[in-house]
Symmetry: C2
Subunit: 342 residues, 2 copies
């Protein structure tokens, strides 16, 4: 079914072929408003890796955010081609000369993260003009050690790059269960970033994510990188955040046996790194490539629909070509997941 | 980089942008030969869900297999449009009228699995002409209870469908570690299928998978459905099967710290339902959306390549647009993963 069909006919959600990725427009709108109310304009740099969808980014821009975070060069290039965002950050390292050049040649200003001499050199050679020094703030992933951040900034400036500031990602703290403990840990982690910034300079101190969005009032960062808040998933859902589940995968019951039912929502349509999804009114037993075996609270019939809640929104989005936008069970739009790949 | 570039220039594997899905042509060829030697022609009905790639299916056809198993209507339609296969089985249930009609209208004969009155009715109404009765042989997923298979076959014939036989999938036995125990379990499971076949009739008794490919000498099945054998993964690699790892994801080291390194092969490029991938010469710590943090045996430099072995081949293939075919580190072809989606 194409968008023209949907708009012509007022299609009901249950007429979509399945598995169908659904966005609840009302919940999505409330999530965007809740975040923009707290972190308006460029105090939030929405992370497009969570949705890989320029239509969603355009909605984030419409509510006031003009600066965006990307995880892959293709996200940066796709955002620029869609004309969304006035300041794009690749919050990731790359030494891919072809991809760096593609980003450098865009009309929109692009900033890339660097954390080593090799990444500085690659960016400068490709014609990239601006960078952030990516600082390790405790997560064993990318980022220069804080005490070496100043020296790397000097190298970057010597190579001709404008150093706009620092970034760090306290990803190891997103799921600390106790809020007070999470807050204290985030503040300790951000002190590392501030120490690095004191050596590096620049206007930007960028950090954070959905799980720590409300813990930065006193950390000194100038902007928060968050993406999952717009759609949410069962993993973040356990954190008691003021954002609602807005993303579902609609499935069709294709088989019913004594004790279990099977829907056509398999692990190829669901990010599985955070474990199994949940179903409304039932208990998930396991996922196969193209099947979800579950125990329904009330035995369904073959052909019934079942709503599945992904455990991790980011990879789930990346597995689908498009999401259908739903309001009161009516399909009102089709958003291409147009930033997939690298 | 496009295929024309590759063929013109003799590109080295390390010139590909990453993450890059790689197929080792020599290992792939040996896997296909090993399986075709044991199960030639239509004794194997290769399962395309494992690769979602018509170029791989064409290689399976070239070595003698003309019949294919599919998990989604799009796989069936894509195979037909590519002109690969003379007998396509949708080994899965669907009541999607539009997709059933699309399969019924193909020039190649299509058979669909049915396990309920609803699936029989939907197939017959859409103009599908042939079915297999899908029988539950112990895995809690699709399949009619064996004792009801005969009655369902009668319903299917009454609805105008040709009943070609039965299928069952002993997926719950693929990973039984002890071979003798696995064999005994498979034989018990297949007895259920034979009992059902005695009621159903037809020429086809279809079952099995890569993990049980050599356990069916005395089970009475007429054909084996297997897909993973062509490419393999770390999960099946533990089984001691005579198939080699032929699928890798090549990554680039983008960050090196004291104690760990980071490659650009994240969980959006890897099927994660069987857990973390493995790296050559190192130990994986964890995967993030776009990153793999690992401990290398010998500390690499930024820009070095790292070979990553997926834990589960099926969803890994479904996450990539194409695979690069490699022989002696030279890129010799680009195969589109052209059967993705549903």
């Amino acid at each position: 079914m194409c968008l023209a069909d949907v708009q012509r006919c007022g299609v009901h959600v249950n007429e979509l072929s399945t598995p169908a990725l659904l966005i609840d427009a009302a919940a999505f709108d409330r999530n965007l408003a809740a975040m923009a109310g707290r972190l308006p304009g460029d105090r939030l740099r929405p992370h497009v890796k969570a949705h890989k969808c320029t239509a969603i980014a355009a909605a984030q821009q419409a509510i006031g955010h003009d600066t965006f975070t990307c995880a892959t060069p293709r996200e940066v290039v796709g955002m620029a081609h869609a004309g969304v965002g006035t300041d794009l950050l690749l919050a990731n390292e790359t030494v891919d000369a072809e991809r760096l050049r593609a980003m450098a040649e865009l009309d929109v200003p692009v900033t890339v993260a660097v954390d080593s001499e090799a990444t500085v050199t690659a960016a400068a050679r490709a014609g990239v003009s601006a960078c952030l020094i990516d600082v390790n703030v405790g997560l064993p992933r990318c980022g220069v050690a804080p005490e070496r951040a100043g020296a790397l900034a000097d190298q970057a400036r010597a190579a001709g790059l404008t150093v706009r500031g620092v970034m760090g990602y306290e990803g190891h703290l997103m799921m600390v269960a106790d809020r007070a403990e999470r807050l204290a840990s985030v503040e300790r982690s951000m002190q590392l970033l501030l120490d690095a910034h004191a050596q590096v300079g620049g206007d930007i101190i960028s950090a954070g994510g959905t799980g720590t969005f409300d813990l930065h009032a006193n950390t000194g960062i100038t902007e928060l990188q968050a993406g999952s808040y717009a759609l949410m998933d069962t993993h973040y859902g356990r954190q008691g955040l003021p954002f609602e589940q807005a993303l579902f995968v609609s499935g069709t019951v294709i088989s019913v046996s004594d004790g279990w039912s099977v829907a056509d929502v398999g692990l190829k349509s669901l990010g599985m790194d955070h474990g199994n999804p949940q179903v409304r009114d039932g208990k998930v037993w396991f996922c196969s490539d193209e099947h979800l075996t579950y125990q329904a609270a009330i035995q369904p019939s073959v052909g019934d629909r079942v709503g599945v809640i992904p455990a991790h929104v980011d990879p789930t989005m990346a597995m689908h070509e498009a999401a259908w936008v739903i309001r009161d069970d009516e399909v009102i739009d089709r958003w291409a997941i147009d930033l997939r790949g690298w």
